[in-house]
Symmetry: C2
Subunit: 357 residues, 2 copies
DNA sequence: TTGTAGGCGTTATCAC
DNA sequence: GTGATAACGCCTACAA
């Protein structure tokens, strides 16, 4: 009958108008209604108006589920995010989401909780729902996830890293280089005992690479090494404070601390203030991510600015271009980073003197 | 032919196995395959195994779009969030999302950018996609949004406020009461000139109510009033710092500042430190939201803890219960709040003396 | 510019 | 326990 059955919150049954109802009321064929909605300019103005009236009269809402089935495209992108409670991932997604909206696509969201197997389950569900493309955070995925995506030839974009073997496309920056450069900067300012706080590296190649970049610079610039200089902790201000106490307890002579996240750095800075450790005079601190809070801290925090929003929106346009059949020239796009030097790593007077001698 | 045509990233065409292909290979009817997947216990073990083998052999991935059309349910909830770049909304969503996942539902996401008309567009698209339920942030919606949702009898939950006339259901807390209580607490500690920083109140009833709660308490407790005590600013640490300079320039005698967000409060606190204003001795500062950073600041920040995650997950279970046809006894659920008193509003010695005299 | 026919891949329904 | 049949509501393809 062209009417959908709907049982709603009130329990009553409602008949929902379908394209046939609209067509009948407008005195045209269903196909003409469909066209009037998809390609208005291919329908005469008169019929268009009759149809518009009929739509208004019936309260017709097109059924995209049926359209999707028939046209074999869902106008939907599936996105896997570790968690929303993390400004950087949220910013990537926000930029991505805007790019989609601009072109009529929608976002289906899944949380992986940093677990690759969780991601795998979500991707499988995305495929079943016939998403037109997939967005993955990071470059750490199970073999099965990669295989599913490739075998089904689903346009895919990986965010935040520069994988050597991308599933399909990737947009990000070099986590290794960024960490290397921060450490180099600290070395060049005269700091010799540079500690590192990262978040967990398990199944998180961004943290792994940042740690690797740090280690490479420590080696290249002959900085002091000590296993106690490196710590992995949860993404938590308090954990950072706790770890700072451990660090200065074990190595009171540490002169700089590089944190691979601005909140970690903020937590360490706050704890330093409580311990009476002067920043940067007694201890320099550098962060990562370039969050808003970094420039507002006292002292303001040296950090690495990541073009978060831009990475997300670039990923969106790349993915949609590929879906539209355009050739994507570059499959892995490096959006770069920028080190922002601020007060928290200013070379203290004492070091300046030593260095000059 | 039971095969889907798929054109993927490589441009080649792939024939995707359908339920008929699996059925043929397993020597059963398509319906039996469908049942084996939906209600395994209604199919004999033998057939089940044959089907499993056939599925593995064909690489069959069920087409949920077709299922959705046929079964008239999408197992999808549409959620409208103002923006992800805001920890509190992200936390609500995270809790909500987990509740959905536990029951096999998925989340379709839309950003409204705090614009009710943007929300309206998104909701219309959600309806077209036949979501089984809708999640809205806040209680400020256009008349058309409300009408669409009600006319179509879509289970809906509004988050973060306690609307008097909910579209359907709501989970949140009293923003008015929370702000009132914070202001009362400041008044009882002896502060008389209490300023307020909120974010924009346009189309945001949460901020409107917090401001109203503040004003009511100012009146009830006879605090000093001055239009210059109240400011609306963007959700930005730097804007908070800027506004603090304005405030102390105009009213150097202000003795307390209530910010309706912890980041605003942090921005004000950092600026106070730079200006040499002692907190709480010269100026008390209170925040809102109970973010992690609050307890780590120096001094630690008095704030209002909102059960963010719990609000989200409760909203999820309520919505799914209603979709499942269960009666939802309480349509508006107040999840409460808790004022956490910390160092930033400790009664300073000077005030204690005055009060005692 | 408009219409007809057929099918998209699955599940509801009822029969066996 | 299993299967045949008929939708689900729209769009592709082709015809007029």
């Amino acid at each position: 009958m062209g009417m959908e059955n709907v049982s709603g919150s009130s329990g009553r049954r409602v008949k929902r108008a379908g394209i046939r109802d609209v067509a009948r009321l407008a005195g045209v064929a269903p196909m003409t209604v469909s066209r009037a909605l998809s390609f208005p300019h291919r329908v005469s103005i008169e019929t268009r108006e009759k149809i518009a009236a009929a739509i208004a009269a019936t309260g017709y809402i097109p059924n995209r589920v049926a359209s999707n089935l028939s046209s074999n495209q869902t106008m939907t992108i599936g996105a896997v995010i570790p968690t929303l409670r993390n400004s950087i991932a949220a910013d990537f997604t926000e930029g991505f989401s805007r790019a989609l909206k601009a072109r009529g696509y929608h976002l289906l969201l899944g949380n992986s909780d940093f677990i690759p197997e969780g991601e795998e389950t979500i991707v499988a569900e995305f495929l079943a729902r016939r998403v037109d493309g997939v967005y993955l955070t990071g470059a750490t995925h199970t073999a099965k996830t990669r295989k599913m995506l490739r075998d089904n030839a689903i346009p895919t974009v990986e965010i935040a890293s520069l994988p050597e073997d991308p599933i399909d496309m990737a947009v990000g920056f070099s986590n290794f280089d960024a960490a290397y450069e921060v450490t180099r900067m600290l070395a060049e300012q005269g700091y010799r005992r540079v500690a590192l706080f990262t978040t967990f590296t398990k199944d998180n190649e961004r943290q792994v690479e940042r740690q690797a970049g740090y280690r490479a610079a420590v080696r290249d610039f002959g900085l002091d090494t000590d296993p106690r200089f490196v710590a992995e902790l949860e993404m938590d201000l308090k954990a950072a404070g706790r770890q700072l106490r451990v660090l200065v307890g074990e190595r009171p002579d540490v002169d700089a601390l590089f944190c691979t996240g601005d909140f970690i750095a903020a937590g360490a800075l706050f704890e330093a203030q409580r311990l009476g450790i002067r920043v940067p005079d007694d201890l320099a601190i550098a962060g990562f991510e370039g969050l808003e809070i970094a420039e507002n801290l006292n002292p303001s925090l040296t950090t690495v600015r990541i073009p978060r929003f831009e990475i997300g929106s670039r990923a969106g346009t790349m993915l949609l271009d590929r879906i539209a059949g355009k050739d994507v020239e570059q499959r892995v796009v490096d959006m770069g980073f920028e080190i922002i030097k601020r007060g928290s790593t200013a070379t203290p007077a004492t070091l300046r003197r030593e260095t000059a001698s």
